[in-house]
Symmetry: C2
Subunit: 344 residues, 2 copies
C-alpha cells in the first residue's frame, strides 16, 4: 500500500473524496464512505503523517520532555513510566499519540527543546523538571506552542501547570512532628535550580511559622537527591552543634542513606530522630522502622496532565472547558514508624 492515490484508483474515485471520507467530513455519501473505509482497512492504508503534517501544520502528537539527569531518575520507582501511562490514556481518546523527548544529561535543556520545537514533531508539550526560572517557558510562549509544566515555576506568565502538593506535604509533616514535641525540624532539599526545592522550602518555613517556630537556616541541608545525599545529610545533622530532632526528606531515596548513617552512629530512625519523607516507594514499608511518607497515583497525575494540556489547546476547548489550569496534586500520608521519635 503506497498512498491515497492507489486507494483512490482502486475504488475509481478521486483522492479528494477518499480523504474526505477518511476524515469524517460530512460532504460525502455514506455509501461511498463505507466503501472507502473498508478498502482502507483491507489494504492497511494509513495516511502518511508527513504529508498530513505538511498540509495541516499539525502532527497529532504530544511531546513529553524528560531529562535523564533529573533527580527522580534515581528514585525508587519509574516515576515517569507511570505518568506516561496516564497521559497516553487521555490522548488516545482523541487519536493523539505521546512521544517522549528525553534530553541527555550533557545537553542544555533549553537548546534541546528549541531543536525539538523547530522540528515541529509535536503539537503541544509537557515539560518536567521545571526550573525556578525556566527559559523553556519563555521559549514555548514565544513560539505559541501549547504546553503544560509538571511543576510550577517562578517564571512570569500564565501558563498551565500541575505541581505536587508540596505545601500540603510540608505542613502535614511539620504539624505531625511539632505535635510530637519537636521544635528543631531539619529539612533536606536538593541543591539544584529545579523549583521543587524552593517551593518545598517556602512551605516548610510557612509551616514552622504557623507554630511560632523561628526559621533557622542552619537546619536546611542541601545535598544531592540520592542515597549518598541522604547519607551525607544524616552526617551533617549528626555533627551539628545543636542537632535537630526531626528531619523532612524531600526524596525518599535519600532515606536509605539517611538510615544507614544513623545506624552507623548507633542511632535508630523513629526512636532517636524522626524522619518523614516525600514520596512513597516500594521500599518505604520495608525500612525499619517503616518510613512515614506521602503517596500519590502516578497514572492519575498523568491523566490530569493530559486533560489539562488539551484544555489549553483551542482545538479541544469545548471538550475540556476548564481553560488554563493551575493545579496542586494531593498526596496521601502513609504512616510508618519513622516519625514516632520521642521529643527531647
Amino acid at each position: 500500500m503506497k498512498g491515497i492515490r492507489q486507494l483512490a484508483d482502486q475504488l475509481n474515485i478521486s483522492i479528494g473524496t477518499v480523504s474526505r471520507a477518511l476524515n469524517g467530513r460530512p460532504d460525502v455519501n455514506e455509501e461511498t464512505r463505507k466503501r472507502v473505509l473498508e478498502a482502507a482497512a483491507e489494504l492497511g492504508y494509513v495516511p502518511n503523517q508527513s504529508g498530513r503534517s505538511l498540509r495541516q501544520g499539525t502532527t497529532n502528537a504530544i511531546g513529553f520532555m524528560v531529562e535523564s539527569g533529573f533527580d527522580t531518575a534515581g528514585n525508587p520507582d519509574n516515576f515517569f513510566l507511570g505518568v506516561f501511562d496516564g497521559v497516553q490514556t487521555v490522548l488516545s481518546r482523541h487519536h493523539l499519540d505521546l512521544v517522549v523527548l528525553p534530553c541527555a544529561t550533557d545537553e542544555d535543556p533549553t537548546q534541546y527543546l528549541r531543536r525539538m520545537v523547530a522540528r515541529r514533531l509535536v503539537d503541544a508539550l509537557i515539560i518536567s523538571a521545571t526550573r525556578r526560572k525556566d527559559e523553556r517557558i519563555e521559549l514555548l510562549n514565544k513560539a505559541r506552542i501549547p504546553f503544560i509544566a509538571l511543576g510550577r515555576s517562578a517564571t512570569p506568565g500564565d501558563h498551565p501547570w500541575i505541581d505536587l502538593d508540596f505545601e500540603g506535604v510540608a505542613h502535614r509533616a511539620v504539624d505531625r512532628l511539632v505535635a510530637r514535641g519537636h521544635r528543631r525540624v531539619a529539612v533536606c532539599v536538593p541543591s539544584n535550580d529545579i523549583n521543587l526545592g524552593f517551593v518545598f522550602l517556602d512551605a516548610y518555613r510557612a509551616a514552622l511559622g504557623r507554630h511560632g517556630i523561628p526559621f533557622e537556616p542552619g537546619l536546611v541541608i542541601r545535598v544531592a537527591s540520592s542515597e549518598q545525599g541522604g547519607y551525607q545529610a544524616a552526617h551533617e545533622l549528626l555533627t551539628m552543634a545543636e542537632p535537630a530532632t526531626a528531619v523532612v526528606l524531600i526524596y525518599e531515596l535519600m532515606a536509605i542513606g539517611f538510615y544507614r548513617r544513623l545506624n552507623e552512629a548507633g542511632l535508630s530512625p523513629g526512636r532517636d530522630i524522626a524522619v518523614i519523607a516525600f514520596r512513597e516507594s516500594p521500599l518505604s514499608r520495608f525500612l525499619s522502622p517503616p518510613l512515614t511518607c506521602f503517596r500519590m497515583s502516578l497514572r492519575d497525575l498523568g491523566i490530569a496532565l493530559g486533560e489539562s494540556l488539551l484544555a489549553s489547546m483551542p482545538a479541544y476547548a469545548e471538550v475540556y472547558p476548564q481553560g488554563i489550569v493551575h493545579r496542586v496534586w494531593p498526596m496521601e500520608l502513609i504512616e510508618g514508624g519513622s516519625d514516632q521519635a520521642i521529643s527531647g
Copy 2:
C-alpha cells in the same frame, strides 16, 4: 522565520541553492554557503521536518518503544532513563534524535507499534520487553524498518539484538551457591511471556547441570516481579516440603518482599537462606545483609544499543561496519552478605 522561501528572498538567491548550502552539497560556492549559514543562524531558521520527511522519506529520528506495564517499571531505579541517555549521545553525533514511544498498559504492543510504524514518525526502532515469540519483530521485518531489540527472542530471523548476560548471571550465581555447599537452589522468574524469564531459566538449568545437580521443577517459583511477588516467593519457599536453601531472584525489587517474609518467619537472609538477585539498585547495599547482586552501566548499554542499531542501517554502514549485532551485555558481580548462608 517562516521557511526556506523567506531565507532565500532575504539573500536574493533561490531556495534550491539555500537547500544545497544547508545540506552541505558540494555544488555551491563556499562564499555563498557561508552567507546562507550565517543568515540561517541569525534568523534561527530550521528546516520544517514535515517538508523534509515528505520529500526524502526519512525523519532523522529513532524510536524507542517502552511499555508502561513492563516489569522493570517497578524496579528500584529508572532503568530506561539511563538507557535513553546513552542512546541519545550516540544519535546526536549523527544529528539524529530519539523519540520514546510509550505503549500504555491497556493497549496491545503490536497494534501500538503498527500504528507508530504507519505514522512514519521514525526511521528505525529500538524495542524492549522482547517476548519469547514477538509479533513486533515480524511486523518490523515485513515493513523493512531497521530495528534492534533489547532482549533476545525465540522469534525466527536474524534481527540484531542486545540482551543482558543472563547466562553469565545464572552461572555465576549458581556456581557461588554450589561452592558454598548449596544443592537445593530455587529460582524466581516472572510469569509473563517476556523472554527474559525463559532465558534465565534455561541458563539456570544449564548451570545446575554443570554441577551434576538435577533440575527440579518444584524449585522454580513463578510470581510477579514486584515486592509482593518477592514476599509471595519467600512464602512459597518456606512452605515447601523440602525447602530450598538458596534462591536466585531475577528482579532485585523482589528482594525487599523476600527479606520481609523471611524476617516475619524469624529467618535471616544470608544466614538461613542464601539470596542472590539480579540487578543492583541503590537499596542493595542498604538491605541487611547487603544483597549480592549484579551491576551494569545503563548508559553504556544505551550507547551499545544506539551504535548497533545504526550499524544495521545501510546509511550508516561505513561508520559502524559491525553489521547485524547479537550481543550479550556483561554484568559485574557485587558481593553482599546475602549469599553467605551456611549449607545444611
